[in-house]
Each structure stands twice: as C-alpha cells, then as structure tokens.
Symmetry: C2
Subunit: 293 residues, 2 copies
C-alpha cells in the first residue's frame, strides 16, 4: 500500500474524520488528503491543523480521491451517499464510519456501484467534537467492524482492512442487522444511561460546587459520555430505535427491580445481584489480556 | 505534625484503609501503623505489602493508636463504632471514611467521647478492592467532606484536616443530612446506573466477544463502577435508601421521557435535551481549571 500514491477524501472533518486523516498520513498510507465539510470553519481549521491538504467540493472530492471516508452523522450519511456513489469513478472505494449499519447497507444495496462501498464501524471515539479534538491514536488497538462484506468487492474490502490496519485496528466482520442489535446494548445504551444521569444530577444539584466536589467517586467517568455531540447522537438513537427501545425497556425493568430491593432493604438480594454483575470484570479483563499477549 | 510520634490504627485493610496507610507513612504523618481486619488474609497481606507494621486486636488498636481510621463497610462501622468509642483513651481521635454519614453521626451522638469522633467522607475510590488494590495517590487532589464538625472537638477536627492534607486532599464541611442527599445523586446513583447497565448487557450478550469487541466506544468507562464491591455497596444503598429511591425515581422518569422521544423519532427534542445535558462539561471543567490555577 505504502508504495502507491493514495489520495484520501474525507467528508466530515470532525473527531473521527480528522483523526483518521492524521493517522493515515502519519502511517504513510495516504500521500494526499482532501477534505469537505458543510461547516466552512471546520474546513479552515482542518487545513490550519494540517489534517487536510486542500478543501474541495464534494464533486471535486469524488473525482480526486482513491478512497473516500464518510465521517458525518448517520442521517447525513444517508443523504450524501447516493450523490457520492453516482459520481465515483470505477476503482474508488467509499466507506462510512457510522455507528448504525442496517439502514446505510439497505440504502447502498439500491445504489449504483454498490461493490465499491464498504460499511465500516470503527469502535472508537471520545466525548469531544470538531477538528481540534482529532488525534492520530484514536483508533489504536480498537476494533473495526465491516458489515455485509459480501456485498462489497473483495478488492474494496481489502483496501478497507488495510486502512483499518494503518489506523492500528483489528477488523471483524458482521451482518449489519446483527451489528445494530449488539451495538444498541454495548454502545448506544451506555450513552443514554450517561446522558440521563447527567440530566438527573443537573436538574437537582443547583449548586455546581456540590457536583464538582462530590464527583470524585465515579461520577466523572460514568457521566463522561453525557458530553457527547447531540448532532451525532440524536440521529443514531432514532435510526436504531427498534433495538434501542428494546434495551431501554430491559434497562428500566432492571432498574425497577434494583429499586425494589433497595426499598425492601434486601441486602442479600442486592449483594447477589451485584456479585453476578461483577462478572463484567472478567469479561473485559480476560479478553484484554488475551489481546495483549 | 511531622515532629510528633503518631501511631495510626487502621480498621479495615482494603483499598481505602490501605491507601491511607501507605500515604500517611510516605508523607511522614504516621510514625507507626497498626492494623486490624476481620479477614486474617487481608491482615497478612497488608503486613507483607508494608501497609501496616503490626496486626493487632481491636482492643490493642484502641490502646495504641493516636488516630484511628475506620475503613470498613458502613453497616460494619455502625457495629464497631460503639465498641471503639467506649475504649479509646482521652485525646485519641477516631474517624470513619464511609460513604453515608447521617446514621453514623446519629449513632455517634449517643456514644461516650463523641467529641473525639470526626465523621469523614473522602470522595475517592476505584472499582478495586482489598489490600493489593491500595496505592498512596488514591486521595490526591480529591475532596474530604467532614460532617457535623460542630459535634467534634476543635482539636479532633484539626487532626482530621491535617490528615486529609497529608493525603493530598482539600477539606469541606457539610451537614450529615445534606451530605447524604447530595451524595445519593452524584455518587450512589452513578454506581446504580453502572451496575444495572452491566447487568443488562450481561443478560443479553451471551457472546463475550461481542461485549469485548464493541466496548471501545464508551461502554468500558460507563460500566467501570459495575466492578465495585457488593459487600461495600449493598449496605450503602440500603442505608441511604430514602435519598437513593428519590433519585432513582427521577432517573427512571427521565429515562422514560428519553425513551418516548426515541419512540416518536423526536430528533429535535432529543437534541435539545442533550444540548442542555452538555452543560455538565462546563460544570466539571470550569471548576477543574479553577482548582488547577
């Protein structure tokens, strides 16, 4: 790959697109990077920060890029993808980085040049947004999920996995429908629980000093995701509504059961429940060691 | 302080007691540290790790220590405190580190030598437990809350704040009842939302690989507290039940409102709600800067 001259076109110059651009340049995967953002300030900032070499129109980007990375909110991706797929020359690979995959794969199936599209979800992110939040190591040691790979040309999948490798990621393949179901539990629900925790505390604690002083014991990490971008997350929540509503229902039911145990001072029940939940440590740490060794 | 010969007696040699012992020795605040733990393995381990100089009985600890630190689950502290307060010589200061303060202050008010007791809550912790989890910097830059200080002798409060300073903490004073109300929102609720999130994911995701691979985007930090000790947290939840039930009620109501917006695909409502929640960033970061400068 590094021997080739590859021009990357990044649509959306925020945390995800900006971080990918920085790392792909650093790794020698990209020789030139052009960018497009509907927000002209983001374009200017990305240029100034050395994230892109040039700001171009969407049509210009489609002409110039060998690999197009769509790094915009999932609803915007659905709007822009048809325009891109109609314009891209043969051989150009288009991939998106969105957190939901079923709808974009269903849409892609109806578009020209479907084989040139690869549906990706790099499981990485922070609560920060915009070009200034971008950093090259965002994707390091994380997992990139490619969905419905059988609908993409083998060459396109190969380029997507090579890009993921250059970003420092492992690739895993999954059906888009399965992906959306799993990710509702593991990622989307985390964001909702965090947003609503932040909301509940803000509503009641008028005195900001109390929040700050008492935040030491776990609040700060649990509420971290509540700083995330509403522009990005609102469309994810509505797009993956069916799966998310099922998880939320279950989460609320479990909260009600937990609440009942507290109300009944059922310490044995609480301990037993929490001991079972403690298994999450083993799940996360056993696999972590496996990956490290 | 450093000029004096101070023997510290630590009851409960886990994360909190162990970390305090390590730092107080390192800072030169303690010249000798004796310890007591109902679990003899913890006592042995604390000795081996250099956390304490000697394992002693509770009676021996009361005789030897100038400052007694009670670092055990809140229900156990209620059991042990009367025994300690009856035995301590004049001048010995007793403090506890529990996460709930109203009940222990009410109990202390009925005991002999109340003036020698200082109710403390250092807002610090990790999800790990036992002597091996202890580390001297646990309390660094955190806040120690002293409750109902007017019931303690000024000399005792002075010793407690000096100890907090040696641990690297600021001290704040608060009414025990207020403390329990605020901490239910900021700390206890965080633990419940995290425990129940872990539970919900574990119930559904039979395939541990999915949890691990998809955990990148926020799940790991949001679920961190779900690894916390059931022995420690069950009594906190039941002891602070009145306040926690009020918060949980509100949290569940907010979740239901959020769920309704998702079900109705109300993207504007979701965005507006999340924009307001984003204020949590300002609260946490503005004060952080203030503290740092």
């Amino acid at each position: 790959m590094a021997a080739e001259e590859i021009t990357i076109g990044v649509v959306g110059l925020g945390l995800m697109g900006g971080s990918a651009a920085l790392k792909l340049r650093q790794a020698g995967f990209a020789t030139r990077i052009v960018g497009h953002d509907v927000n002209p300030q983001h374009g200017q900032e990305a240029l100034r920060l050395g994230i892109i070499d040039e700001q171009v129109s969407l049509a210009g980007l489609c002409r110039q890029a060998d690999l197009i990375i769509l790094a915009i909110p999932v609803n915007k991706a659905l709007q822009v993808l048809p325009e891109i797929m109609e314009q891209v020359p043969a051989g150009t690979v288009v991939l998106d980085l969105g957190s939901t995959k079923e709808k974009i794969c269903a849409l892609a199936a109806t578009l020209p040049n479907r084989q040139q599209f690869v549906a990706c979800h790099p499981i990485a992110g922070t609560e920060n947004t915009g070009p200034a939040a971008a950093f090259p190591e965002l994707f390091k040691d994380k997992v990139n999920i490619i969905c419905d790979a059988e609908a993409s040309a083998p060459q396109a999948v190969k380029r997507a996995t090579a890009m993921a490798r250059a970003l420092g990621m492992r690739t895993r393949f999954m059906n888009s429908r399965e992906h959306d179901r799993h990710i509702a539990f593991v990622s989307h629900m985390s964001h909702i629980s965090s947003f609503v925790l932040g909301q509940t505390v803000l509503e009641v604690e008028q005195d900001e000093d109390n929040i700050f002083d008492m935040a030491g014991s776990g609040f700060a990490s649990t509420v971290r995701l509540a700083k995330s971008s509403p522009e990005m997350w609102a469309p994810i929540f509505t797009e993956n509504a069916t799966n998310i509503l099922r998880v939320l229902e279950r989460y609320i039911n479990n909260l009600n059961k937990f609440k009942k145990m507290i109300a009944e001072a059922d310490e044995a029940g609480l301990k037993h429940t929490m001991q079972e939940i403690n298994l999450i440590r083993k799940v996360l740490e056993a696999r972590k060691q496996e990956t490290e060794t």
